[in-house]
Amino acid sequence: MKKSTGQLLIEALIALGVGTTIVVAVGQLVGISFRANLIGANQIPSSGLTQECLEAALSIKTENWANLYFPQGGSDPEAGKGLGNPYHPIVQSSGWRLAPGNETISLTGKNYTRNLMIENVSRTAQNGLGEIEEIYNQSRRDLGTIKITCTTSFLGGEIKEARFLTRHNQKVFSQSNWQGGPGQANWSDPTKYFADNGGVNVTGTPGSVLLAGSPGGGYISKNEFLTSSIYGINPMNNNRIKTSLRFSAQANKQVQRVGIYLQTVRNSPTYRIGLQADSTGNPSGTWLGATRRGYGSFRPTTTGWQTINLTEAVPLTAGTVYHLVIEYQSGSIGGSRYIDLRSSLPLNRLIPFNNASDQFANTLYYSGRNWQIRGRQPIYYLGYADSSLEGNPYDNLYNPINNNFTETPIYGSNFVGQSFVGLTGTLSKIEISVRKSRAQNPQGDLSVSLYNLTDSQLINSGVLVGRNVVTQTYAWYTYTLPSPVTLASAKTYLVYLSSPATTSARAYNISAAIANTPLVPITFLGNQSQLAWSTNSGLNFTLRPEADFSTIRLLSLGGYVTSGELISSSFDTGSQSGYLSILWTGDKPANTDILFQIATNDNNATWNFLGPDGTTSTYYNISATAIFSGASNHRYLRYRLLLTSDGQKTPRLDEIRINYVL
């Protein structure tokens, strides 16, 4: 009792400490509660603004996909996208649009910053099929889906929400009947089309497109490798410039050496030449070969053919597209130190030896920034390990009458033709492409003669084209033999042209091409066919294996034309649609092909037909191919169908389908 007389000071201090701790704790709780309330107060308007941003994106997508998919205009699906390109929604012309950058919105005295990001999306399969991938892969880009992320930030936090927007309205355009014929500019009758440029048959097999002609015949032989002029591809006068000769390999063989024709050589530096694979029409940039050394070096001193051995052999696969690439290696280069490779016109897209189609043949030129198609026939050869050759050996025109490099005139006593040996079949028609050299008509008609050179016997002769009919541009004319001639493989035949009444001033012109002697095996039919001419009215003929008459066809009864073309009506998709893939069904026998190009626009007037790489020189030749992305976001569509054949058989198109999304 005596001890409990009041508290000690230390007890009071402890009580005070405990009390202070409680006070601080309660204060903190109140602070947290107040702060939570403050954040909650910001969350409602932030959520509202984020939701408005996403709804604006939905509106833009619904109104016009292109405004969202190409936020900066143009047709590059990668441009203006990604997290480094913020946008914000604005109201314009009674609709939502995108404007670049962030925006600041003030609500009840508080500022909110809002932006919208657009990202491309890829899927696990091509053509918009499969699941969306976590990591974007450009090669499997889905043209019909994008990811939108809207973010609204405020002092102390942010609201971020993402949404995938899809052009869900996927549709198919299909045509499987063309019997209605041409003349329909705009799509309404599903059996009609806009135009055929000759060579197609839409009624022979109902519901299919075939080449014109009939079964049972075809070409016995033909050379359509017209050479009308020669050009340099482009001077390689700085170290960034490259040149490519693109071709489809004809054989499964190993290339040991390559040959090119130099149009110009000026104090040349050293260049490198080699083989590269194709990457969407352009060289891949990587040399082929087991150790990537499928190239060689050369420093030419003269124009003409240049042969270069490769450091290591490069195996080629028949039917695959390759590039013979030439680029600067070392030495001084400039305006007076360069080379230029030769090419020829027109672009025949054929292999001269047998006229096999090579739709990928072309010349390309790299300016230092990008590859450009030159649209000219490449002049090159490949030397295989088995000593065989492949390529286009014709390096110039050849005029045997005047022995120079111009077109060949036919007049007076100057007869020109082509010899053949080893041919079999029943010859019914002879077709030759010629022109008149002046506006005035020649004085006489142009005759064609079939001559048995082995037995010195004229088989038949007649008028190929009348003096009043022939035009000044090259055109094909047909002479039908009065009765078919059965050819014997052991005999040498000669088909020649003559016009004795015509003078040199109004001569008929034909085109003949010449190659270097070692390359004769890959000229037209090799040694089996030669250019023949007479300067003494046919008393005797000179034959030259290095040269060939450029445009001559020998046909048996029946058969098919070698190419036919059809342009569809304009299909109106109703909006700036995205075009996904092209598919077709039909039949492609050996040496025939079914090729498509697609043109789209918004004015239903300007038709620029393009292939899968976006150029006019390529074709969709495999069904279920993705359509060139630049074709998308246009309203109107037309397709161009090209059927090709060697004349023996015809390809058959039964149905074409184009997948698109609104």
Partner: protein, 161 residues
């Protein structure tokens, strides 16, 4: 004698102890009183904010949901909006501002309040962003109570068919 003196010293506090104790007590009581007032003030603020937020959230969600389900805008002007609904049991839905109260009417029934007293809807604005392809309504709303206010802004695309 010595023992008696020791006992006398242990009785009560010394004047110094008492003074220190009193001073500490005053400090503690002052802090406690301040805390009590602060806590009460904060609680009132939080309650007011919560009231505003609840009303703002509920009103925004109700308007947004109605616009999303609507198939057409019947009429739109300032704080009045009438929506054409696909479902006849709720067609039309109208919103209006009546004496600082946001009200809703469904299928021609009498207007009923969407916001509760004592909060006041001091601003309500409906704006149509519509063309022939897509229609949306932009909504701006401000709710106030006891000198505190909060706003929201959102847009909803009409999806009804």
């Amino acid at each position: 004698m010595f023992c008696e003196q020791k006992k006398q010293k242990s009785h009560g506090y010394s004047i110094l102890e008492l003074s220190i104790y009193m001073a500490l007590l005053v400090v503690v009581l002052t802090l406690a009183a301040d805390l009590l007032f602060g806590f009460t003030r904060s609680r009132v603020k939080i309650e007011v904010s919560s009231e505003i937020q609840q009303n703002l959230r509920f009103a925004s969600e109700e308007i947004s949901r109605s616009i999303e389900q609507a198939k057409a805008i019947g009429s739109i002007s300032g704080s009045n909006l009438t929506l054409t609904m696909p479902d006849t049991t709720s067609d039309p839905i109208s919103f209006r501002l009546n004496n600082y109260v946001l009200e809703i009417s469904k299928a021609g029934s009498a207007f009923a309040p969407l916001t509760t007293q004592p909060v006041k809807v001091t601003n309500l604005n409906f704006g149509a962003i519509a063309n022939s392809t897509v229609r949306s309504v932009q909504v701006k709303i401000t709710i106030e109570s006891q000198n505190k206010s909060q706003s929201n802004q959102f847009t909803t695309v009409l999806r009804g068919k």
